[in-house]
């Protein structure tokens, strides 16, 4: 007897067949997100004003010193930042992960927390602290020493290196502490039992094992420094020099030279791709990195008498990206003169009333930022969820291709994407410039890889048998999705959503290219206010922006955690 004629029989795999079209649609959409802007950049870079093919844009890039010097500056800047960040993060990471330094957990949280600070806000805070004439620290120095000259001029190449390093060192730090956490103690004990003194174990075993992570983290620091727009725009332009990103931005000011901007964007793209490839090669060599190896938990080195001096040193270092800038911002928010003395005469609420009552742009910008962040986070999480599901359940080539597409935006610097989207959507058939949609597309593209990585990891932890067990007990595909898959993915989904939300709120480099007078977001408003020197208002907006972020992320965690969070999965 065959079931073909029976009423209740479905084609098995009817749901599975759906995954084909969904896969194709997602792949097409992702490919469009990436190829459209990049394609336009390539098209512009290789044509002249009349649209005829040429290599002239690149020749100009090399011949014109006003174009060539930014390239060299960016190279020098990136190298300096990479070295500086690695040199400062390595001892910190080792102290926090491998010694009994007091307060090492707090130090770790604080270091990670400096991620939340948008780099441009950090740069502005350091303006308040170390501008040559009005900087708080420089005034303090003059008052104390009686000297005429400033102690430190933030509007300089070293100043720029310092500020960018402050906010890229955490990348190195996080990668490195993770690696150090995972080096099993028995590898160090094996050296100890052979008679190696403690310092030789650190130098000869621990650090070499963490070297791949250090290199990978340093590569990220290099990339950050190279592609960052806000900090150089705030600090380098007043100092009278350009980096590639600020130069590209200025090439869009009147009279716009999109062809040259596109040509200048291509090297950024290529170097990013090359470095990311290198990074994945370094981290991909397993066995060397001892990632996930079994073995005893890492043993902590006893610092003895050095414990407290080291503690003071570490927290003094943490003052640079965190304590000092935030104090400067808070003080600026309530002071008439940001660098003025800390007394009632200098205190004011004028900045608050300016920002929230008088300055019309703020309310628009808050609304725009909020709407964009919500929309991007929600759409991005859904997209990442679908793509991660397909990637997790398809082991064939199509799954790998989709994974590549979802991760590809990570190789596109924000400025480059901004240029590409500007070129793509300022002319027909679809004109999105001047609408929030172009910003939405930019943010979605930029933030997708992070959310995808988060959800891919969640799916990897979700054994297919957990779903199959539900199916065989009588639950259909949808019911299984609802009762088993969704609850187990909940924390990953929330984390992915929050990542996108935070990332969107703090994005500047693409936003500055793509927002128009009616579609300004907070980061762009802050950038504009900085050009007008209105530091007090910036401080107010900056703090409000951070509060908004914390509030939304806290709310997201609270509302979804109300029904009892998922339990940790068994090993």
């Amino acid at each position: 007897m065959s079931t073909t004629g029976q009423g209740g029989v479905q084609r098995a795999g009817a749901g599975m067949d759906l995954s084909g079209p969904v896969l194709a649609a997602s792949a097409l959409f992702l490919a469009g997100l990436i190829c459209l802007p990049i394609g336009w950049i390539a098209a512009f870079a290789f044509t002249d004003r009349a649209g005829a093919p040429t290599l002239g844009n690149f020749r100009l890039l090399l011949d014109d010193p006003t174009l060539f010097e930014p390239l060299m500056t960016t190279l020098g800047l990136s190298c300096s930042v990479a070295v500086f960040a690695a040199l400062s993060a390595t001892p910190l990471a080792w102290l926090v992960a491998r010694t009994d330094m007091p307060g090492r957990r707090v130090a770790r949280v604080l270091m990670t927390a400096s991620f939340v600070t948008p780099p441009f806000l950090g740069a502005i805070a350091w303006e308040i602290l170390a501008a040559p004439n009005s900087g708080v620290l420089n005034r303090l120095w003059r008052d104390l020493s009686g000297a005429e000259d400033a102690l430190f001029d933030i509007y300089s190449f070293p100043g720029l290196v310092f500020v960018i390093s402050c906010y890229t060192a955490p990348y190195v730090f996080v990668v490195l502490t993770n690696a150090l956490d995972r080096i099993p103690a028995d590898l160090e004990d094996a050296a100890g039992i052979l008679g190696a003194p403690r310092w030789r174990i650190v130098v000869g075993i621990t650090l070499p094992l963490a070297l791949p992570a250090l290199l990978a983290g340093t590569a990220v620091a290099f990339l950050q420094a190279m592609t960052l727009f806000g900090s150089p725009a705030i600090l380098a332009i007043p100092a009278g020099f350009h980096t590639v990103t600020t130069k590209i931005y200025s090439l869009f000011q009147f009279p716009p030279k999109p062809q040259i901007a596109a040509a200048a964007a291509l090297p950024l793209l290529l170097v990013t791709i090359a470095l990311l490839w290198l990074q994945s090669r370094i981290l991909g060599r397993r066995g060397y990195a001892v990632v996930g190896g079994k073995g005893a938990a890492p043993r902590l080195v006893r610092l003895g008498a050095w414990r407290w001096p080291v503690f003071v040193l570490v927290f003094a270092v943490l003052a640079l990206p965190l304590f000092l800038p935030y104090m400067a911002l808070l003080k600026a928010a309530i002071s008439r003169l940001p660098a003025g003395p800390f007394d009632p005469a200098n205190m004011t609420l004028a900045h608050f009333s300016f920002v929230f009552l008088e300055f019309s742009q703020t309310r628009h910008a808050f609304a725009n930022t909020f709407v964009l962040a919500l929309a991007t986070a929600t759409a991005g999480t859904l997209l990442a969820l679908v793509v991660a599901y397909l990637v997790a359940r398809r082991t064939d080539l199509s799954g790998r291709a989709l994974e590549f597409l979802a991760m590809a935006p990570i190789a596109i610097p924000g400025v480059v994407l901004g240029v590409g989207l500007f070129l793509a959507y300022t002319r027909g058939p679809v004109v999105l410039y001047g609408t929030l949609w172009i910003l939405f597309l930019a943010f979605l593209t930029i933030e997708l890889p992070a959310a995808f990585q988060q959800l891919r990891a969640s799916f990897r932890g979700l054994h297919p048998e957990l779903e199959e067990a539900s199916r065989i007990l009588g639950a259909g595909r949808l019911e299984t999705l609802w009762r088993i898959t969704a609850p187990l993915l909940k924390s990953g989904v929330i984390a992915g959503w929050c990542l996108i939300f935070i990332g969107t709120v703090r994005e500047l480099s693409a936003a500055v290219m793509l927002s128009s007078s009616t579609t300004k977001v907070l980061s762009v408003v802050i950038f504009d206010l900085n050009e007008g020197g209105n530091l007090g208002a910036i401080a107010v907006i900056g703090v409000a922006m951070l509060l908004l972020t914390f509030a939304v992320v806290g709310f997201a965690n609270w509302i979804t955690g109300a029904g009892g969070g998922p339990r940790p999965q068994p090993a």
């Binding site: 079931t3 073909t4 479905q10 054994h463 199959e468 067990a469 065989i472 007990l473 339990r567």
Partner: protein, 350 residues
């Protein structure tokens, strides 16, 4: 009475054939073990029965009703089966009680009935005191029993087990083997059990199906398969055996080089190559010569307490393993005599 029938069941992935036209009948209430090395197709067979895959050819029939055939397979949730997975697949976000109650809740059973049944089955697997715990808080053996309870509580038409004991340590595994058999004796569900462990199969199964390279090598009761392996693969995989190959003189005699061996039963094609299987403990080893005994040298011996494990070489160098009594005195020069009793020498397919 046949309950589950596989007819010419095949599964291919692209050009790779994983399962090659297998036929199998399982009686109502029988526990059948699919036994074989990894990659033999046993798990594929199980997943086809469960409905997680669609066959490339053939049919799966349960109680006279076709559940699967190419292009037409009932989804797993409509088969009334349950399954125990290698990873246990307990849902980490639900308590033990909720895990076990899941299948009953899907069947829209009243709350009170669910509580009664879950209580009863947790009693049966001795886990009543852990009902409100979460899976991550249980040991491996306890998780295994939860998985059993979750599968049994829905009173499945067919119970499927996919290497259910392979994640347990040796002592627990032995205990759980008997547990599986005890529960089967208590509930009598038609059961398909996939394993690569012959001891597991011997302990639990009514019917053992030895699989190799996508085909069934032999199916039969544990004692039957052990006593009368049909192929060299079955003999070595189940229990281990010496395989001696040579040229057949007639239907009962095989020339293995060092000697001509006689089998009690006929099984060779005269003049063709053939093979004999004989279990290690069936090789009789003695220090002195006896009628029909072959001279051999002891190459290696291992004292194992209750037995003595010997590796022997016949006159032409053919190697032979033997399990001898522990008190066997082996002469200093290592020369012994072995007897291969005709009733123990079985013709097998090489």
């Amino acid at each position: 009475m046949t309950h589950l029938r596989l007819e010419g069941l095949s599964k291919s992935f692209g050009s790779t054939t994983v399962l090659d036209a297998i036929d199998l009948s399982v009686g109502q209430g029988q526990l059948v073990c699919l036994l074989g090395p990894s990659g033999c197709g046993k798990t594929t067979t199980l997943r086809l029965i469960a409905g997680f895959m669609e066959p490339s050819a053939g049919r799966i029939v349960v109680g006279g009703r076709t559940l699967s055939e190419p292009g037409n397979a009932l989804p797993p949730e409509r088969r009334g089966m349950s399954m125990i997975f290698q990873s246990y697949a307990l849902w980490p976000h639900m308590t033990i009680f909720d895990n076990v109650a899941y299948g009953l809740a899907l069947r829209k059973m009243p709350r009170a009935d669910i509580a009664t049944r879950v209580g009863r089955i947790l009693e049966a697997v001795k886990l009543s005191h852990l009902a409100e715990r979460y899976p991550a808080e249980l040991s491996g053996g306890q998780q295994q029993r939860v998985a059993l309870a979750r599968a049994l509580v829905v009173e499945p038409e067919i119970l499927l087990l996919d290497e259910p004991l392979s994640n347990l340590d040796a002592a627990l595994r032995e205990e759980m083997r008997f547990e599986v058999r005890r529960l089967h004796d208590a509930f009598r569900y038609t059961t398909v059990y996939v394993t690569h462990d012959q001891a597991e199969a011997m302990t639990t199964a009514d019917l053992i199906v030895v699989m190799n390279q996508g085909r069934i090598e032999q199916a039969g009761g544990p004692e039957e398969i052990y006593a009368r392996p049909r192929s060299a693969f079955v003999a070595t995989f189940l229990g281990g055996a010496n395989i001696l190959s040579g040229m057949a003189r007639d239907a009962q005699h095989l020339d293995i080089g060092a000697a001509t061996l006689r089998c009690a039963e006929a099984g060779f094609a005269p003049g063709a190559r053939g093979a004999i299987s004989i279990r290690f403990h069936e090789v009789a080893v003695a220090a002195s010569s006896a009628d029909g005994a072959l001279p051999a040298r002891v190459q290696r011996q291992t004292f194992l307490g209750s037995t003595r494990d010997l590796v022997l070489a016949l006159a032409d160098g053919t190697q032979l393993r033997a399990t001898a009594p522990p008190d066997l005195a082996i002469p200093g020069d290592g020369n012994v005599f072995v007897t291969l009793p005709p009733t123990r020498c079985r013709p097998v397919v090489a």
